[in-house]
Structures are given as structure tokens and as C-alpha cells.
């Protein structure tokens, strides 16, 4: 059969969002691939230049609509570094709690999307069922299920609601049992392992060269977790283990799946510790209206390393903002993972990468 290009996107069930993966197939084997992105480009870096520092949080929330808090937090962190602002400890702890709840919600959304990618619709409904619980927690904390607008330059918007630790403990206890259920449904299944093991392999050196970060890089066996390497907020005070693939042949869809999946357990641990350790006190520092200087923050987003670089020129709005989206860099490496695999593996690979088009196209 002659080789031909197949557009998997922009309107295709494989793409969770609006982008296009062009794959060149010979029979069923992929010989080349080429991601086409930019359908959702909204000019974030430019829009942010005309809004005040605090008001940009509304925008950064919408960078990735399934992981709003983490992105807004990265922005707030960069602004605080520029302003030389110290967030009160309680504010830092609340940030840690909200970040981890958001990471859980985001990972559950990924799990929910990965199921139907492999033809397992049951996983979608099961994962969304538990995501509801964490969205409820976020709603309790921030007042919104989506686009929470919660982190502020200098802290967070509001204090923890009463009895929040009890709700957290209850939901996490319930969720731990459900994680075992997912395990039985997904990676205990032989067919699941047939579909993911050895598929979409990328070597650690390649992954580093192409700028792959986060769980996708940890799946290659590289121990990078910014929460450990460069602790921001109070991550140095909680005890958790970055999920790194320990087996010999990592870097495939299965390793990425396992790393992400186990990260959910770690997030549960972090939340449990954080609600216990949180001190009393103020949760927000007064941020100056105008600022001058450079702020640079990188955080461990749900999908990898999120980076914000903010320059202020003494005005009340940033002079320049640069966003580094982890998915944008990972997407460049996907042709490497795709080549040589079968066409059905496109979904298995790109699903495990966890694409979020909002942050990719900025």
C-alpha cells in the first residue's frame, strides 16, 4: 500500500482539544508524524501586557482549563519573585493544598481521557466520578469548579473553609480505594499492557534534548521533580516521593501511565500532610501595585515544568511575559515517539503524554 498522510485532527476523537496530528502511514505503520498546533492561539503573552498584575490571574486560569490553579500559581510565584514579596506560611500551605487537589483533578481528567483512547469507556466514567469529589473540594475552597481564580500575587484569595481537613481526609480515604479499582480495571489488564508496553518509547537522552519534562521525563527514569529539586512554597516540608520509573526499559506509554497514576497517590499523601501541618496566621500579603524587575518561576505543573518569566518596568502591568508550556515542548518530541509504531498507537502514545491544548497554544 502506498504511503499517505492521515490527518488526526483538528476534529477527531483522538485530539483532546483543537490540534492536528498528521501521521504518514504505510499500511498501518507510522513512518512520519507532524503535529500541527496553533488552532487555539489566543496571544496570551501579549494580552497579559495590557492587564494589571493581579488581573492576569484570570487569564492564566484559562491557560489550561483542567489545571487552572497550578498555572495561576506559577504566574503569581513569578510576580512575587519580581516584587520580592514573601507569602505568609499559611498562604503557602493553602497553595500547596490547592495545587495538589488541582493536580489530582487534572490527572483524573487525563485518566478519564486515556480510557476511551484505548477503547475503555468505563474508565472515563469512573475517573470522572472521582474527579467530581476533588472538584467539590476545590469548589469548597475557591468557590468554583473550573477557572477558580484562586491564587493571588502575595497569597491566595481566601482562607480554608471550616472543617476542610475533615472533608479532605474523607475524600482521600475514599479515593485510595478507588485507585485500587482503577488499577484492576487498567494496568492489571493484560490487554491494557499489550496496548501500552513498549509503545511510543523515547530514550532519556532524547527526552532531555527535546525538552520533555514532568511525568513524561520521569517515565524515562530521570529523577526530576521541581517540587524536590527546587522546592517552592512549602514542598520541602512535606514528605513525598517523586514518581520515577524504576524499571530498565522506561519511556514507553506504560511507564508514563504508571508515573502519572502513582503521582495521584503521592498527591493524596501531600494533601493529608498539608492539612495537618498548616499553621494559623494570615494567608495573603499585600502586593505592591507597581513593580520593576524580573521574576522567574518554574513549577511542577500537572503536565511538566511550567515556567513564567515576568518583567515589570515600574508600571502596574507587566512589560513582558513569557510562558513555557510543558506540553508545547513535549509535542515537539512526539514524532520521535510515534515513528515505527502502528496507527492505533497514536492514541495510546498521545493519550499518555497528556495533551492540553490551552496551554500548548497559549
Amino acid at each position: 500500500m502506498a504511503e499517505f498522510w492521515v490527518n488526526m485532527g483538528p476534529q477527531h476523537p483522538m485530539t483532546h482539544g483543537l490540534w492536528n496530528m498528521r501521521v504518514k502511514i504505510s499500511g498501518e505503520t507510522i513512518t512520519d508524524a507532524e503535529p500541527e498546533i496553533g488552532y487555539l492561539h489566543r496571544g496570551y503573552e501579549k494580552i497579559m501586557e495590557v492587564r494589571e498584575f493581579q488581573k492576569n490571574v484570570v487569564l492564566t486560569d484559562r491557560l489550561c482549563y483542567v489545571s487552572s490553579v497550578t498555572w495561576s500559581h506559577a504566574y503569581a510565584l513569578a510576580c512575587e519573585k519580581m516584587m520580592g514579596l514573601e507569602v505568609p506560611p499559611r498562604g503557602q500551605w493553602i497553595r500547596v493544598i490547592s495545587l495538589e487537589i488541582q493536580r489530582l483533578a487534572s490527572h483524573l481528567m487525563w485518566l478519564a481521557a486515556y480510557g476511551p483512547d484505548l477503547g475503555l469507556l468505563t474508565a472515563l466514567l469512573w475517573a470522572l466520578r472521582e474527579r467530581e469529589l476533588f472538584l467539590d473540594l476545590l469548589q469548597l475552597l475557591t468557590g468554583a469548579r473550573m477557572n477558580q481564580n484562586f491564587p493571588r500575587v502575595g497569597g491566595v484569595r481566601n482562607d480554608l473553609p471550616p472543617d476542610f481537613d475533615k472533608y479532605c481526609a474523607k475524600i482521600i480515604k475514599h479515593f485510595r480505594g478507588k485507585l485500587d479499582e482503577y488499577k484492576r480495571l487498567m494496568h492489571d489488564s493484560k490487554i491494557f499492557r499489550m496496548r501500552t508496553q513498549g509503545v511510543g518509547r523515547i530514550s532519556a537522552a532524547d527526552a532531555i534534548d527535546w525538552g520533555v519534562t514532568g511525568p513524561n521525563l520521569r517515565a524515562c527514569g530521570v529523577d526530576v521533580d521541581l517540587r524536590r529539586l527546587e522546592p517552592y512554597e512549602t514542598y520541602d516540608e512535606v514528605d513525598f516521593e517523586p514518581q520515577v520509573w524504576k524499571g530498565g526499559d522506561g519511556g514507553d506509554s506504560y511507564a508514563r501511565f504508571i508515573c502519572r497514576f502513582n503521582e495521584m497517590r503521592e498527591s493524596c499523601d501531600i494533601i493529608e500532610q498539608a492539612v495537618k501541618k498548616i499553621p494559623a496566621g494570615p494567608y495573603r500579603a499585600k502586593a505592591p501595585r507597581r513593580a520593576e524587575g524580573e521574576g522567574f518561576a518554574r513549577t511542577e505543573d500537572s503536565r511538566g515544568e511550567a515556567l513564567f518569566y515576568v518583567i515589570g518596568d515600574g508600571d502596574d502591568r507587566p512589560y513582558r511575559v513569557k510562558i513555557r508550556s510543558p506540553v508545547y515542548c513535549t509535542m515537539a518530541a512526539t514524532p520521535l515517539m510515534l515513528r515505527g509504531n502502528k496507527m492505533a498507537d497514536v492514541v495510546s502514545i498521545l493519550g499518555s503524554v497528556d495533551v492540553c491544548v490551552g496551554e500548548m497554544d497559549k
Binding site: M8, E28, D117, L120, I191, M194
Partner: protein, 429 residues
Amino acid sequence: MSGALVSPDLFTLCKVLVGGILRILSDGVLAATPVGSPVEGLRGLGYFLVEDWLVTLLAWVVAITIMVTWAAAIQLLTIMWMERKFYARLQDRYGIMVSIWSLPFWPFSWWAKRRNKPTHRGLGYLQNVADGVKLIQKENITPASADRAMFHTAPVMIASSTILIFAALPFSEGFVIANVPLSLLFILATFSIAPLGILIAGWASNNKYSLIGGMRAAAQLMAYEIPLLLAIVAVLIYSGTLNVIDIVQRQEVPLAASGPLSYIPSWNIFSIPQFIGFAVFFVAIMAEMERIPFDIPEAEAELVEGWTTEYTGMRFGLVFGFKWLRALAGSALVVILYFGGWSGPVFTTLTPYVGGTAIPIPIIPHEVWFLLKVYFVFLIFVWISWSVPRVRIDQILNIGWKKLIPLSLLAIIVAAVFAAFGPYLGGIR
């Protein structure tokens, strides 16, 4: 001992029914047109109505209508409803709930309002009807660059060949249209016409996804026809006939003449070689039905909707809905070949003496036993397909060629050895 409601068979019943009606009509006509009256010329109509060929023809029409309505309408809706309800429960949700009270017009809406009934919390049986009505209303789009004739032929081919299965597929020893000697061969032959339609549909749509889906369907179904047929060969060694009704009757005898085993019927699944064959057949028929671990021809994650991508409206409804009819036929085949067909426990027949003769009255007739078993097998299929991911094309072919075919050959050899030497080995089977 007959436990079937439809006995001795559907055609005879229809012929009695149609013959009776025509006889009454004929008598009426003859009475209304006495000899010597001005309308005497119409007496010929009265004699014509009781012509044997006309009665036979009409009886066939009625029998086929009953069968198609029963299988392609009632059973199709029922198993679609069962699947949607069952996997909804697997997924922790209610599933379809449209019921008769959801109908938005009098008298249902009026009655629902009056009795304060919840309008969308019923059993959901009517949801598939509603979906069908919606699909009929939709526009039938033919892609500009499609091969029009072939594009329109494929759904007809798929649908008609699937209905053709029910010409020979029995629901009990009487509830069958045509009891032909080689009915099993006929069923399997008609079963494998649809893949050709799928290939045509995939090619004629002139769409890359459809083409890949059609090609996958061809490769997959070719790989799975062979173990399917080989597994049946093992059954044939035991039953010695290709007639499905005879195959079931061979399974109705008890496993042993006396002792505790005499309460167990000699279903094929209770024998060693047939169990291997059953495993092969189960997997292969699942692939033939294109259920989820093997639904790569329309893998919606990577191929949008596979070979059905370009079909819209009721044409899509046809090609989509007939998968369930194939599932019904497949489950029925599993039951017939391995689960003893319609034979149920012995206590289902009452034999009261009426006027000195024993008249068997089935409490639970054979048709009901058969449907219960079919639903059970179908639910196992559903259960499997909603709890495993989809297998990849190369893996599917590996399973078919490298695992199922050797296994089915093994089943044949063991069945042959047991059939030849079983009596000398203590009646092992």
C-alpha cells in the same frame, strides 16, 4: 416431549392460521354468490382463495414477517436495551430512561402529569426507538467523491445478509422458518457476507478512515472465520450433523444413563475438547461481532468511526444497529452449539391427562429457555467488552492466526480421538 410453544413448526402454524382465515373468506364469498345469482362469476374467487399454492405462499409471507418482526425488531431492541442498561450500571450511572411516559403527546403526557409520574425515569426501553426515529429524520448525505452505487449498496448488503441469518436460525425446534439439512452451514455463510459489505462500505466512502477501517475489517474477519469454522468442526465430530436442530437434540440427552450425572444434560460445553472449541468459538464470534476488544474496524479513538464514518441518518442506523443483530445471532450460535440450545430443566413440562391422553404443557417453554440463555451469553459479551481496552490490529491478527487456529485444531484432534476411542476409555467425552 415437546416443550416449544411454536409446534410443530412456524410454517405449519402459519399455514393452519392462513388456511383457516382463507377458508372463512372463501365460504363467505361462496355464500354471497349462490349459483344462479347475477354475481355467480365471482364464485371463482371463492375457489381461488383455498388454492393450496396461495395458502402456502401467504403462509410463508406471514411466517417470514413474524420471524423478522420477532428477531429484527423485538429482539434487536431488547438486546440493545439490555446492553445499554447493563453497561450503564457497570459505569455507575442509570443509563437510558426514556419510557412510555416520556412521550410528549396525549395521552401519555396527560396521564404522566395527572398521575405525577416522573417522565424520564422509566426503564428506558423506548430510547432505542427514539434514536431510530431521530435517525430516520436525519439527512442522508452521500459524499461528493464517493462511489455512489457501492456506497448505497453496502448498508443494504449488510442489513439483508444479517436478516438472512434468521431464515435458518431457530429459536426453538419449531420456531424457525426453514429447517434445512445444512442450516449451520447456511447460518455461517450468511454471517460472513457482511464483512464484504463492510469492505465495500470502507472503499466506496472514499475516505481514509473508512478505507483503513474496511481493510482492517477484511483482515480481521478473514483471520477469525477460520478458527470459528474449525471450532465448529469439533462440534460436528460429536453431533454428526450440520442441522442446528439436530445438534441441539444431541445435547438434550443426559450425560450418563444413571447416577448423579444423569441430571446433567450432555451439553457440548461439558466435554473436554468442546470446551477448548468453545473458548475459541467465543473469542472468534466476539471478533465477528466487532465487539470492543476486537472492534478495530471502527476504532473510534483513532479512526473516527471507522468504516461507518461517512454514513449518516438511517443508513448509519442500519450499519450500526445491525451489529446488535449480529450479536444476537452470534450469542444464539454459542447457545445452540455449546449450551444445549433451548433444552431446559425437565420440570418445565406439565403432562396432565386430558381424556386419557397426556398433553405436555410447557410451564417455561423452550423459546423462553433459549432466550434466557442467549441473553446470558450476550451479557457476558457485554461485560467483557466494557471492561477491557481495544486490541491493536497486529495483536488481533496474532491472536487469531497464532493462538486460536492451533487451539481449534487441538480441539478437533482431541474430539476425534474421544469420539473414536471414548467408549473404550470409560465413556470420556
